[in-house]
Every structure is written in C-alpha cells, then in structure tokens.
C-alpha cells in the first residue's frame, strides 16, 4: 500500500492549525484521513486488533494534546506515525506481552461480499503473514512495516523512528533475510506434509 497522504501536506497542517484553535473538525478530519493507516500499522506491530484500536485512539488524543508541539520539520503524517510507533512500544512495555500472536484474537471485520472459501483463504494468508512478522525483532518489524506496507522511503522511515537512514536499511535488510528463511522453512514443512 502506498500512502496517498503525503500529497496533502499543506491541508494537514491547516487541519492541525484548526486543532490549535480549538476547532474539533480539524481533529475529526485528520482521524478520517489517517485512522485506517494508523490502525493497520498498530495491528501489524501489536498483532491484536482490539489493542491496535485502543492505540489508534490514543494516537489521536495525543495529537490533540501535543498539537502545539508540532514543529513542522516532518509531515503531519510522519509525525502521527512517530506517535503511533512510540505508543505501540509503550503498550508492549506496559502490557509486558511477549511477542505471542493471538491467532484466536478478534477477527478483522468480515467482508460480506466475499465467499466463505475466499474468506478462509484470506484468513489463512493473514495468519501466515502475522507469523512471519512475528519472527522479526520489534525494531525490524517497525522499519519493514513502514517501508513495505506504508510505502515510506527510507528517509521518512528514519524520521518516524528517529534513527539514521543507514540504520533503517540495516533493519529492513535483516528483516528480509529472516523472512526469507521463515518462508523457505514454511515451504519445506508444507511439502513434507503433502
């Protein structure tokens, strides 16, 4: 998924100005624009839809209380993702949840236009992706998810995570190495069973 949100940089800042002026519509508009991406990001990092929803709400409440701290050096979307990445880290620390993937956790909302078989395959694919991402360290997962699913260039990932571009590349390359082993092991296991 490539984010289409960077294009609206000026508008985002105008919305942030509205929040600073006490106008709720600015916050509501930013929520409509970014909540789906932030929710997906949190879900990928925390592997728990319910917790990801809580974190997403937390991100937008922080956006309101910290609107005056935004210094304009990064885009509003990058700033939101930075808040989200910190919120996810805080949540993991607070909950002391081991990186266990609750496969029996709350399912994503059902898509009623798809058939049952298609839905089952989708579910299996999602579970496989969750398992693959769970094989990564938290740092690798953050960097990979931002670049792979949110279409961010290395420089923006670096801004969001507060690290150098070199560090971002290292994390992503290592993540890919791990994933390569993970998927090839999965294939071997699948072939052995069949």
């Amino acid at each position: 998924m490539v984010l289409t949100i960077a294009a609206g940089l000026t508008d985002d800042r105008a919305l942030l100005d509205r929040i600073r002026e006490g106008d709720t519509s600015g916050a509501a508009e930013l929520f409509e624009r970014y909540a789906p991406a932030i929710l997906r990001f949190a879900d990928r990092l925390l592997a728990d839809r319910a917790v990801a929803e809580e974190v997403t709400q937390e991100v937008f409440l922080k956006l309101i209380s910290r609107a005056h701290q935004y210094d304009g050096r990064a885009g509003v979307s990058s700033w939101l993702f930075a808040i989200a990445a910190n919120a996810c880290r805080d949540r993991r620390r607070r909950d002391r949840r081991a990186p266990v993937i609750p496969l029996d956790g709350l399912p994503d909302p059902p898509d009623r236009t798809e058939g049952a078989e298609r839905g089952l395959l989708d579910r299996e694919r999602k579970d496989a992706v969750r398992r693959a991402l769970n094989a990564l360290s938290e740092e690798q997962r953050e960097a990979l998810v931002l670049a792979r699913y949110h279409g961010m260039p290395y420089s923006e990932v670096a801004q969001v995570l507060g690290i150098s571009v070199g560090a971002v590349k290292t994390r992503i390359f290592r993540a890919v190495e791990t994933l390569k082993s993970h998927f090839s092991e999965g294939e071997r296991a699948w072939n052995a069973v069949n």
Partner: protein, 319 residues
C-alpha cells in the same frame, strides 16, 4: 556489484528505491551468478508472501467511539477554571479595608496629638508612584522591545522591563492608572508577536484574578479591543479568558455578545458563551444575553459544542 550486496540491492528494487545504475548492475550480476539469482528469487518470494495490505476498515462503532473521545479531549483542552467574583466578597473586602484604615487613623491620632484630625484626600495618593524610570510617553507610540514581566512583589508591584534606547524597568501596581495604561498599550499596540501579546494578557489576567481588584478601564479597553480585532484566534481566546475573570461591566458584556455573534473561531465563541452565562447567573438576567444564547442554542449552522454549551447555559440561568 558484489554477491554480499544482493539483499540490499534486491530490497531497494522491491521498494522502488533503486536508481537506474543500481538496477542495471543487479541485472548484470544476476545474469552471471546462478547462486545470487536463486537467492534473489527467495527474497522475492518472501516479499510476495507478505501480501498486499490495504488500510484497515474502521467499524462504525470504533469510528463513533473514537470521534466521541476526540470531542471530549478537545473540550478538555479548552476547559479553564472559572472563578466568579461574588459582589459580597468584594464588599467584605472593602469593608475590611475601611475598618483597618479607621483603626490606623485612631492609633496615629492617639500617638501624635499634633497630627491633623483628618487627612485631606488629595494629600493621599492611592498608589505610590511607579519606581524606576519615568514612564514612556505613550502618545508618541514608542516601540518597546523585548518586553518582560516580573511577578508581583510583597506590595503587589509587578515589574515591566523593556528596551528603548536602553533597558528600562518600571515597578508598580497594575491598578495604578499609569501602569495600567502601559500594560494596555503593550497588549493593544506594542506587542509584535502573538506570544508577546499573550504573555502580557496572561500577566494582566493573573494579577487581577489574584488581587481580586477591579480592572483598570485602560486594561478593559485594551482587552475588549483585542477580543474584537486581533487576527490571531489564540490571542482572542486569551483576551476572552482574561475578561471573563473580571467583574462583568456593560463594556465587557457587549464585547462578549459581539464575539458570540461574529467571531469565526468556535473556541472564542465557546468562551463568550461561558462568560455570558456566568455573568447572567450572578446578576439579573440580561435580555440581550438570553436572546443571544437562545439563538446560538437553536442555530443549526453553529458548532455542536457551542450549541450544547449555550443550551446548558440557558438551563442553568434562573429565568
């Protein structure tokens, strides 16, 4: 290209972040290195395995709950502590001052029989003259830069420091007409930035709130002009909050009514509703205030918060 660079090059390509020479070098290398070609296939399979990932769909319940939380948080950010000034409290204060003054007069007469029986009012200055340099001639619209303030000392005197040709510091009580004029000038004419203006308003507001003193007409004039005309909504909000802390006068009420009708910022209108409602609760209801609140409560184009606040204000006023 070296074999050890393979992962980086392939990932750069998959992320669309490889430049043309890098892509060419990778293609050439893969064409001549079977091991790397196999590795690259593995990386691509793993990449594909991650699938596409559309944004999450928000459920109706989650969206509604989140927007509600956002509204509540926005409201929380706007809440300020309102401390109404009861007329009884002020009367008691004045009465206490009269008693103390009478007691002191009696003692002075007892100790020195030569003292005059009564002190001529013109001989007593209500305020000691401001200490420090002579106040600037404000009629000449001087530019006072780098304005800073110091909090009240034991005698309630604040410090106002500024640069003209040299650094000057004036020390005096804000109720002193000369000091009040200087403060009013800083708020309404001198401040160059919204931050400077806000700090001046805050100082004025905090002082009068803490001293529980009647605000100087110069200060009220400066603040009502700021509420009416300042281009920055944050500054207008600060002026509204400061005025809300003063005893409501006709001039202040008129400024709030105008803000409620005309201000483009809902936060300022909300502050006006709160101040008007508080004033209406303290004294006999004013017809224009009641009508304005009613109009806002029923105006479908008005911001939801302002409407709700106006409606609850009307309920709270004893009509």
């Amino acid at each position: 290209m070296e074999c050890r660079e393979l992962t980086a090059r392939v990932v750069d390509r998959l992320l669309g972040q490889a430049d043309e020479p890098s892509l060419l070098a990778l293609a050439e290398h893969l064409a001549g290195c079977a091991a790397c070609a196999g590795e690259a296939e593995g990386i691509e399979r793993a990449w594909e395995g991650l699938g596409s990932d559309p944004d999450a769909r928000l459920t109706g319940a989650f969206r509604a709950r989140s927007l509600q939380l956002i509204e509540e948080e926005m409201l929380r950010q706007r809440i300020r502590t309102f401390r109404p000034r009861g007329p009884l409290r002020s009367l008691l204060r004045y009465a206490a001052a009269v008693v103390i003054a009478a007691g002191l007069g009696y003692l002075v007469r007892g100790v020195s029989p030569e003292a005059p029986a009564a002190i001529a009012p013109e001989a007593v200055s209500a305020f000691p003259p401001p200490a420090g340099p002579a106040l600037p001639d404000l009629a000449a619209s001087p530019r006072l830069s780098n304005v800073t303030f110091t909090p009240p000392d034991g005698q309630g005197r604040i410090g106002i420091a500024y640069d003209t040709t040299a650094r000057q510091t004036v020390l005096g009580r804000p109720e002193d007409p000369a000091v009040a004029r200087l403060l009013g000038y800083i708020v309404s004419h001198n401040a160059e930035t919204a931050g400077e203006k806000s700090r001046a308003i805050e100082l004025v507001s905090n002082h009068y709130r803490a001293a529980d003193a009647a605000a100087s007409p110069d200060i009220v004039r400066a603040l009502t002009a700021t509420l009416r005309d300042d281009p920055n909504p944050g500054v207008r909000r600060k002026a509204a909050d400061a005025l809300a802390g003063f005893r409501t006068t006709i001039e202040i009420r008129a400024a709030f009514l105008e803000a409620l009708r005309k201000d483009r910022n809902p936060g300022v209108r909300l502050a006006a509703v709160e101040a008007l409602a508080a004033a209406a609760r303290e004294g006999p209801p004013d017809t224009e205030t009641i009508e304005s609140l009613r109009e806002k409560a029923f105006d479908p184009r008005e911001n939801g918060f302002v409407r709700a606040k106006a409606a609850s204000a009307l309920k709270a006023i004893d009509l």
